[in-house]
Amino acid sequence: MTISRRIFVKNSGLALVSLGMDPLFLARAVFGSYRPLPSHTVPYRPVLVCLFQRGAVDGLNMIVPHGEPAYYQERPRIAVPAKDVVDLDGHFGLHPSLAPLKALWDNKSLAAIHAIGSPDGTRSHFDAQDYMESGTPGVKSTGDGWVNRYCQHDREHADTPFRAVAFGPQLPRILAGTAPSLAIDDLQAFGLRVPQEGARDRLTRAFEELYDGAGTGLLASSSREGFEAVRMLKRADPTQYRPADGADYPPGRLGKTLLQIAQLIKADVGLEIAFADCSGWDTHVNQGSSDGQLAARLRELGLALAAFNRDLGDRMRNVVVLTMSEFGRTIRENGNSGTDHGHATAMLALGGPVNGGRVLGRWPGLSLEQRFEGRDVAVTTDFRDLFGEILSRHLGATDLGTVFPGYTPSPARFLGGIRGT
């Protein structure tokens, strides 16, 4: 029996319970009513893929407000010329490097969110990343990350070690906490690192036996989970993976990571949330405009996302990819043809459940009095409103108050980024 069927059967059971006596029923009614009904023909679980653009991406050159004269006045050297922008709605357009995503905009599975960010005004990368991952802006001592808290409080899918996976050598802050989560650097090397298969299988069995005899504690259960994960992955045989439909991932770490996430989704091992970093956005010097440093990073991002979308094909109907970055950059270019640390930025949401073809969020404008502290794009959407909407309407989270402590999420503030039923 595959894990996806197991979860499907389990979900059906829970659905019946919640019709009756489940104390969470009211909470579900508020946040869960927008969730697409589970399709009986496609029993795939919803998946969220988070890409963290570390270093603070320049939202203004990613989703270009080409209809704003102030944008061109403030950036004589680095603005993307209107003729190069891939127009979206007459006011905003994609950076030309993101042209591979235009088809997804046209078929309404890509949305952009502008003027989004943190209520905390810090311009420190460290603090702002910390707040975006802990989900508690302004509070430093939060020990765990919001994705982990979601996993702690929503245990419906807690039966697979692959539920929450970070791709990289270490578990990031966003996934830290008491709910089990995995950091995987390389899918093919997951498990015991012994070159010969025979020796590897033998050691695997030996360690399993050692821990089986260790009783019922966390050590024993974690060992069982770990080796179950190894077996599941072995059945899925990641070494034989070929992207579908001629999907062509760009060279580099991001393409490799998204390919591995696609593999894991298709392996049906119960992945619900995947997280990956992509760096190189801190463009203080010679940022470039249609070409240059930022253009090269965006090209890799656009190609990787387009390849991921093609590779997953029909499965994208249950997948949302969300980009996030700790803050945006100054409206005015600096003396080094770059931009400095700012406030609000832009994010992208991609996938079947996304209510796409729209730039979401209230645009605050770029004139002096509309800016944050006279220099940066003002935040009109608290990032927790977007994260909360995706958690509740896409993944079916029932208790956003515990995921974002100190914050009262309200569907009234949701942007409508996830399709209703």
Binding site: S141, G143, A220, A229, H341
Partner: protein, 510 residues
């Protein structure tokens, strides 16, 4: 007196052997036992060994002194490191400009001075591993780790890249077994903490520096160029919540604001002047502050010192820090008895850390059957104890630090001021456990403490003796023997058996 307590205790509980007690003490007060060390500690007498560990100045440590000389980072002071960091940043910017001018869109990375600076930073982690593995003053090293974690500073935040070495060497290490109040004041005045929790930028609202030129200067490398304009509460909040009173310590948001006002002006000199602590009179809030029933009048830097002394001697602080010490030394969820004993010693000695520790080590809870082998090693403890047991030489390459990082505890890289958790639930999960097994298999190949013996039963017995002081479970023994059955090569047999022993459940516990 302690011996009497110990004897009284031994009469109540089925007495563990002297070697079992020694092994327990080595697991908690040290980074595990080296081969035969449990026996030698038992011969000295475990309580006498503990007393020696509490007095590290009289424990000779020639081998560590020799190893420390290999670390260049100990030759540089804070100003040297600040200069090297500034040069590295400038060099990187220059290369970025050149690359962009040449139309090269690839990001230059890892080149020249920045790589050298990163390598120096890596040395700091290596040094921590070498000290933990090699030092004879084991309890001192354990306490350095405890306080570094209690007063956590994240090395990746801006200026802390060059401020952390002096924080470890000058702030924490000399005070790890001293007086809590001194340690608290030292951390409050440390540039590393002032930068990490933003107090360096906390100024009275409306205040401004006396000279224009001075105004333009950014604070110690932070990317924010704008001048601070008001109080920053971060240090005040963590001081109360994490360093002293604890989250349930009975303070309010208003208390945090008053505390932050008291610390306005506590800042850092610019890097070119050595990046040392400075009290900036102009930035200090001169108004009266009311907090915890006390009133602080315009008294400059002394206000902060008085407040720290007050906090260090509050019952909530004693209880919070004692409970944390007991979680480290006794059990994840420590019984009240050992915490109360620690608090009583704290009260009596006004925060003498050695007296507090002695109270914990002589408390019946420390020696109870429930405490023994009840804790799971943290990744750092796991790697260092494996290194000690197997006789692997901790060299000055980054590999052991990378191993600790891969297991989830990259040293000095916890961004949150909480530090790393002490509890099993934080460290044990499926991915982390697989990573420990892989680490065990890798370390086993270098094991020099176990001879390659042809007889499998003798081999397993030797491993049980030297790695686990005779505490290997019957189940572990039988599984390892079973795996060895068809192996004839003695070197291969040793690698397999040691790998299974280190990666198995017995060695995860302490």
């Amino acid at each position: 007196m302690h011996l009497i307590l110990w004897v009284a205790l031994a009469a109540q509980v089925p007495a563990p052997t002297a070697r079992d007690s020694a092994f327990h003490a080595l697991n908690r007060l040290a980074y595990g036992a080296r081969p035969a060390e449990a026996d030698s500690v038992a011969r000295v007498g475990v309580m006498r060994w503990i007393e020696r560990q509490l007095d590290p100045d009289h424990v000779p440590d020639p081998r560590l002194g020799e190893r420390e000389r290999q670390f260049k980072i100990l030759d540089y002071d804070r100003a040297d490191l600040a200069g090297r960091y500034r040069d590295a940043i400038r060099e990187r910017q220059r290369m970025q400009r050149e690359a962009a001018a040449a139309g090269d869109t690839l990001r230059p990375r890892g080149a020249g001075p920045m790589r050298e600076f990163r390598e120096l930073g890596g040395e700091l982690q290596q040094l921590a591993i070498v000290r933990a593995a090699v030092s004879e003053r084991q309890l001192h090293e354990v306490m350095v780790d405890f306080w570094t974690n209690h007063f956590n500073v994240f090395v990746g935040k801006g200026a802390d890249r060059f401020l952390l070495p002096s924080y470890i060497e000058e702030t924490i290490r000399p005070r790890a077994l001293g007086n809590f109040q001194d340690l608290l004041i030292a951390t409050a005045q440390s540039p590393a903490m002032l930068f990490y929790l933003d107090n360096a930028q906390s100024v009275a609202p409306g205040s401004s520096p006396p000279f224009r030129a001075f105004r333009e200067r950014a604070t110690a490398g932070q990317a924010v160029r704008s001048r601070p304009t008001g109080i920053n509460e971060n240090y005040a909040r963590e001081l109360l919540e994490l360093h002293t009173l604890g989250v349930d310590g009975g303070y309010t948001q208003q208390d945090i604001i008053e505390v932050a006002r008291i610390f306005t002006g506590w800042s850092i000199e610019p890097p070119e002047r050595g990046a040392g602590f400075v009290f900036r009179d102009w930035a200090h809030d001169r108004g009266a502050k009311h907090v915890f029933g006390l009133t602080f009048h315009d008294d400059g830097r002394d206000e902060g010192i008085a407040l720290l002394k007050f906090l260090a001697n509050q019952h909530a602080t004693m209880h919070h820090v004692s409970a944390k010490l007991c979680a480290r030394f006794v059990a994840d969820d420590p019984p009240d008895g050992c915490i109360d004993a620690a608090v009583a010693a704290w009260q009596k000695t006004h925060g003498d850390i050695r007296a507090v520790l002695r109270a914990i080590f002589t408390s019946p809870d420390f020696w109870s059957a429930q405490a023994i082998r009840s804790k799971v090693k943290t990744p750092f403890e796991f790697v260092v104890s494996a290194v000690r047991a197997t006789g692997v030489e901790p060299d000055d390459t980054p590999r052991l630090a990378q191993l600790v990082a891969r297991l989830g505890e990259p040293l000095y890289q916890q961004p949150a001021p909480t530090g790393y958790a002490e509890t099993e639930a934080r460290w044990v999960n499926s991915g982390a456990l697989l990573a420990r097994m892989n680490a065990a298999l890798a370390l086993a190949k270098e094991c020099s403490s176990i001879p390659a013996i042809d007889d499998h039963a003798q081999l397993v017995a030797a491993i049980d003796e030297k790695l686990l002081a005779g505490t290997m479970s019957a189940h572990t023994k039988s599984v390892i023997l079973e795996q060895l059955a068809d192996i004839t090569d003695s070197v291969q047999a040793r690698a397999l058996a040691v790998g299974l022993a280190l990666g198995g459940p017995d060695f995860q516990r302490q």
